[in-house]
Homo-oligomer: 367 residues x 4
């Protein structure tokens, strides 16, 4: 990100100065963004903007900010450094490219856009203008996911064998997107964040079902081969009477189980598994004699209680001030879109593997 | 089963008389069969047979039966009516067809055989000789699965929307079969038992992974389209440090969750779900307005404590005496093999859907 | 409550008019009261009052109300009908009696006061002035406790056999009160609410421990004989690394288990238990032959998601308008204090049963 | 145990020789003892003895032992070294003293006897004859309890703050004993085993209830002050529709939670708690400022899968051969009886603390 706007690079020398941001979109997620930017020591919340001016006003009043129904007013304001977009996904590209064109840094609610093409457009606009484009992959800023990332990066888990994620509940059937586009961005953005190589798989497959004839899949299963020979699998479902948020990350050394609905023990790290004698791994047939079972204990690390969005706001400011890509960069959001598009094609073909489109930017340097 | 051996049909008139059975195979499962047949009021355990005569003797002694290392001795004994086979899967067909050829009824440990072809051979031998061929699909005789079958048959669940089964633990890596052939027969035999139309899907797909390079898949995901437009999905896994045995059967009216590791509450029936106004189901796009959410309670029926194998032994005797197919008939065992073979092909092709071979016998009449 | 102030009785004829309330105390609980009264259709939040005027201002600003550091200002304002008190317990009596003396209805955070004597004073002031005195026993307005009360009142549970409540976690060691005074008011107010006869026991006993030498019990066990011959028992604990909020209400017909930390299944109703043939209950020795075991299922009713404090605010307004005692009346708060005082004496005597002081007002008529 | 019979001391020099034992009592527990002694490398099962000779025969046949209905026959047999008693508690003393008088070592099912007096008689008979008297406190030989004992002994937990044990389920109402005598021996024997000083409390209190008028308490709560200033509390209950087996051992450094119904995680060790600055512990009032909260993680050690009774049989043989007291010695069984008797008196007095009778033998040296 060497072409970062020099104006902002200079601003970095004055760390005490707050950055000014406007939140665009005052629907479901916008109020959460507004509250967190308003409370952040790094930010001043300049305005809340929504086509529905009254809705913008209500949200703005709660946090003591100005409101407007005019996006142009926000984009033309030279005192505003950044924009947080929480509008419907199909509008992300238009608003983001306009903001980037007007010299604003941009953070966008997930998914980054409603198609890979739109995401590429946003990515290139950010690169062209030397500005930060960040995906608000909120889960990546939770203490649980940060801990998982650390455990993998530090080698605690060893090589990844498989990842199995279940994200199911009685969900709102969306008017425009299927369950994969609605829920799987969470899993994919987390995978991009925790895996050493990010979402770099060359193909994916997906199956699903629309048993209520709603016109789009309400049950979906996504399969992603991992570089190591392992496999990642995601189950998303709007029709489950029970709610489950559970991801297993199994490694050669340890296995992590993340149960996000158990606040007293979100992360469990198991020292149990199967060991193969190294020489046997190249032979075609393993005999039971070459396998040994490791029956160790389990460890549940303490996790701090932090609001993820507050961490996200901090990271957005740090990326801008550091002239660097954010941890959940635009490139990350783009990789998620690339996988989702391939998955949608596979779903339409009954589960046939589909290549993930090349040209996805590589994982950027992270802090 | 009209061609049933007249000798056995006559025996039916004397219900008080016990049937005589020999258990062949004294390894892992044989002792359980021996104990249950020995304790059954319907059966006399005539002998335990194993190539390893000493092993046969130990098992036989514990239940007060004779032992032998000669299969011929068992098959030539005219006082023995039936044989229970618990040898390695690759030997099932040879032993079963020999027994059927000698006028013995046969029950076989799962899977029925190690290939669909072998299963067809067994099925035809039983038909030819007018004898009962039964698959020991033990789970189908547990109070939990019997309750699920009743709930579906009585219309409590409504139309099936999806079935999601998870059967994972730290498993013994088998020398000859992959995780699908090892564990999925449980799920498939249960589906054949509880679904009104049995395992009648025309195609299946499977993906999997062998991340330890053992030479066969240790993680597997199986997808089966259901006739109703729904989907069944099975996750089997030998590499999980936690053990899960959980099947969800979601219907339009109610959803059943079966957690076999929770002896205090194995079955939960949820009256929660999504209702669509009937006219909306033919339109391409459902709007949220046509959906309503049913937020009812949950009910956990009391289940009797019964040993499944005792029920199986009773059913085997009843099928013989009633000159009828057993509840888990040879045809059922064959349908399981047909799906497994197609799944194995799909797995080899990276998840491409593969047609299930036709000519599978239809679901027989059950009691 | 026949002596209710005629001014308020007249007001009742105009139901559309909102009542005006001030919240006194802007510490831990006050902001929750302020928010709920501000959002209630029955109430206008007139002011937030705290000796620390800046703290009052911050809380008031968040809900768009006025603030003051002068209690007199609130009490002298003739447009204010009611006061909600959320100050330290030792100040409740003084503030409440002043407010009642100035014609204000009063609702008080639990416990009603820091001694039975102070509570009696408050109770009598309310009676004297014909005003509503209400205890903010918040749990009694949760859907779970309302459901339990209904199940008992409708006869579903039968006669109560025992109640066992566990309320433990790693708690803040309070500077002025022990764990019984801190946590047991929750259990006692719930018992007073759900039991047909309320907290009418004639004696109680309590044991406890202060293993860290903090100067007051950090672990406490409270035993209350029930009129039916049953027993209620409460475990409160500040030193538990795990958090449990679990109450069992066992009846002759059904048993309710309330697990407040399981939002997906807070209430379970078990149809399991022991039945005695009726004639055997008068004999000294029951033989196993006269006992039968009922092994029924379990039912978990759906519960609405409602904020308890909003229900409390509604009830406070309804009691004022209806010239009637509130569901969690001052008398209820007083009964809780009576039991707590007797428990404190028992604790000091090593668990010897201590009589609950008589003269506790009887359970009032409830809606 | 210096007066141990010299015959057995000499036997110690021949470790390869098996000891011979007879099991007396073929009811509920006897068959388990028979099976474990029959399979033990340390023991030969000489006979199973029961007044009901047919019942003895059935149990003996299953393990290939002789049977008899004559206790004298067993006691007169000079080749039998030891007797395991699993008859009703009221018969323990008579059988044990007779056996000890005939030179047999004795192990007795819990409780050691039906009164402290009977237990003393047995204890003295063993001392007099220089023989081993052991209590079959089976739980003390489970991997979970052994691990808890190790964690306490090694200082991992620090000083014990409180112990809270819950042992409840829908139980068989016993014809002769109340719930305290039926279930609490488990908790008390475990406490005697894991606490450094054993069951040395000078007084206990108990409350309970018989809400079904069965003639004896079906719900019981037992309180035992610990020497350290802490407290142990036990809840036993025959009327609970849910089954719980959960013991919390909270220490100044760590807290152990033992959930015996969770085979996948029986023991959890929490590094969470409250720390006091040492100087503050002598002051009357701790201010919050002197308290700090330790919010560490949790660790669940792997436990071997072992049958507790097999370990018990091994220990019985080792105690005999080593001329030493068994880990769960007669003295331990006697301490349990002393506490039970005091608890029974307290229960009759409505919970008044009752002194535990002195003269209880001190904890013996253990391996």
């Amino acid at each position: 990100m060497s072409r970062l706007n020099p104006d902002y690079a200079r601003r970095d020398e004055m760390p005490a100065e707050r950055l000014r941001i406007a939140v665009v979109g005052a629907g479901y997620w916008g109020p959460n963004l507004a509250r967190n930017f308003a409370q952040s020591p790094d930010w001043d919340l300049a305005a809340v903007c929504d086509l529905d001016g009254e809705r913008a006003r209500v949200v703005a009043d709660r946090v003591g900010a100005a409101s407007t129904s005019s996006l142009d007013e926000v984009l033309d304001d030279p005192t505003i450094h950044a924009v947080a977009i929480a509008t419907p996904a199909r509008t992300h590209a238009k608003i983001a490219t306009a903001a980037l064109g007007n010299g604003k840094h941009v953070v966008v609610e997930k998914p980054l856009a409603d198609s890979r093409g739109a995401g590429v457009e946003m990515y290139e606009a950010a690169e062209r203008n030397g500005l930060v484009l960040m995906a608000d992959h909120t889960y990546c800023y939770t203490p649980a996911v940060l801990k998982i990332r650390d455990l993998i990066a530090s080698g605690e888990t060893g090589e990844i064998l498989y990842i199995d994620s279940v994200r199911i509940n009685l969900g709102l059937i969306q008017p425009d997107v299927d369950v994969l586009w609605d829920l799987a961005p969470h899993d994919l953005s987390i995978l991009d964040f925790i895996l050493t190589d990010g979402l770099d798989m060359t193909e994916v497959s997906a199956v699903g079902s629309d048993p209520l004839d709603t016109g789009k899949a309400c049950v979906g299963y996504l399969t992603l081969p991992l570089g190591s020979g392992g496999i990642a699998h995601v189950h998303v479902n709007w029709l489950s009477p029970t709610k489950i948020r559970r991801m297993v990350i199994a490694g050669t050394l340890r296995t992590i189980v993340w149960d996000d609905l158990n606040p007293q023990q979100r992360i469990s790290v198991y020292d149990r598994g199967i060991d193969l004698e190294s020489q046997s791994r190249t032979e075609a047939n393993v005999t039971p004699a070459t396998v040994s079972y490791r029956l160790g204990g389990m460890w549940a690390p303490a996790l701090a209680e932090q609001e993820a969005l507050a961490n996200m706001a901090t990271e957005f400011a740090a990326a801008i001030r550091g002239s660097r890509a954010a941890r959940t960069s635009g490139g990350s959001g783009l990789r998620v879109l690339s996988v989702l598009e391939a998955a949608a094609q596979s779903l339409a073909k009954g589960g046939m593997p589909v290549a993930v489109e090349h040209g996805v930017p590589k994982v950027e340097e992270m802090v």
